[in-house]
Symmetry: C2
Subunit: 232 residues, 2 copies
């Protein structure tokens, strides 16, 4: 869990804050991002426009709360999966399907979410410092997923796998955002196929013959991550 610096100083304030947040998430799910104006949120919450900005620095910061909330949902729903399913492939498959299902109600505005997320200056940027706590939480899900998996994996692969899987899962979400097929059938198809390929690739990479290339690749990934942490 990431620590949260409070910007409310009284219970009343806290109450107003959550009221605004809940109203916002309702409207977002109902109308999408563009049509959910700050004015509409304030009005429906029975609060002045300026007051909404007192609790959330910007519309994007309001969205960050969404990130956090859906992640918590997903995390909670993932735990039972790990208990029933022991294989990496099975876990990945179910966790990813579940993720998409969790995000489902917000597909229409998830694009805008990623849009702002791709901007290095945005607080939503998943690679940036502002989102570091959420990112850590998010990667941790894959650490749990990998940690007690049955198959034997080379140590250096096992160390970097959570991060790589997190990146991969971001890619799946990106695909889903662009997927306008009915019920997002394509995304589920892509998940099935890529998880299968990934599983085979991991098996291949675990082969002793692959050791030099594997080491080289993973060392590079580790270097990158170190740089990321050092300077953002």
């Amino acid at each position: 869990m990431s620590k949260q610096k409070k910007d409310t100083k009284t219970p009343k304030g806290e109450q107003t804050r959550t009221l605004i947040l809940n109203t916002a998430l309702d409207l977002l799910a109902e109308r999408g991002y563009e049509k959910t104006t700050m004015r509409a949120i304030a009005e429906k919450a029975g609060v002045s426009l300026g007051n909404a900005y007192h609790y959330f620095k910007s519309k994007e910061h309001l969205i960050q709360a969404f990130y956090h909330r859906t992640h918590q949902e997903h995390l909670a729903a993932s735990v039972p999966i790990f208990e029933k399913e022991g294989s990496l492939k099975g876990r990945l498959l179910q966790v990813l399907r579940l993720k998409i299902k969790t995000l489902e109600p917000y597909h229409e505005f998830a694009g805008v979410l990623f849009k702002t997320a791709a901007d290095p200056h945005s607080p939503l940027n998943p690679f940036g410092q502002d989102a570091a706590p959420i990112r850590r939480d998010s990667i941790q899900l894959f650490e749990t997923l990998v940690s007690d998996v049955k198959a034997r994996l080379p140590a250096e692969l096992k160390a970097e796998l959570p991060y790589l899987l997190w990146l991969y899962h971001m890619g799946i979400i990106l695909f889903w955002i662009h997927d306008r097929s009915p019920k997002h059938a394509r995304t589920y198809y892509v998940i099935d196929r890529t998880v299968d390929l990934l599983d085979r690739l991991i098996t291949l990479a675990s082969n002793p013959l692959m050791r030099p290339l594997r080491k080289r690749s993973l060392q590079f990934v580790a270097d990158l991550r170190a740089l990321e942490l050092a300077e953002g």
Copy 2:
């Protein structure tokens, strides 16, 4: 070259259009995206605000012209590389370094560019229909790069490689956008390392033993591309 449906009907109109475009690109390079307002563009071009919107449906459409222009620059500068360098690895290395160098002056606002690009609804979205002509041009660069390469490659790999390399090059750009190291040294480091890895991976994938996995993977990529073309 992609066909361009004209939205100007007279020479005068064409003149005004390019005037606005040039002014916009100047201001963008000079001030960045946010500070380059439509009003500022119109004013500096000596044209009314509404008139700018007569020639460009939106600010984002104006940016599309930037995409196109820098791509043309990059393409022109790439041709000599192919004449001097025959190896896939060497070509990739030089083409990617060149791309970053070409984009250099626009780093500050390239983030915003990618930001809007990640939104499925944006005309800038590189995966969307509006950008299809530019995407085709862009992929074509890698087709040229791959076409007369010296090394022998499996047919099905050679067929999909341009698209995969294009995707890869998008990833490099994404990294560059988030790279705030001096002179973007990190991006150049990442290019060097990943090109090396990619080259080894391609060699590996070309091994007859890898045929089943290779076929399976590439068939999947081909399927995806077909879907993309069919429905966007």
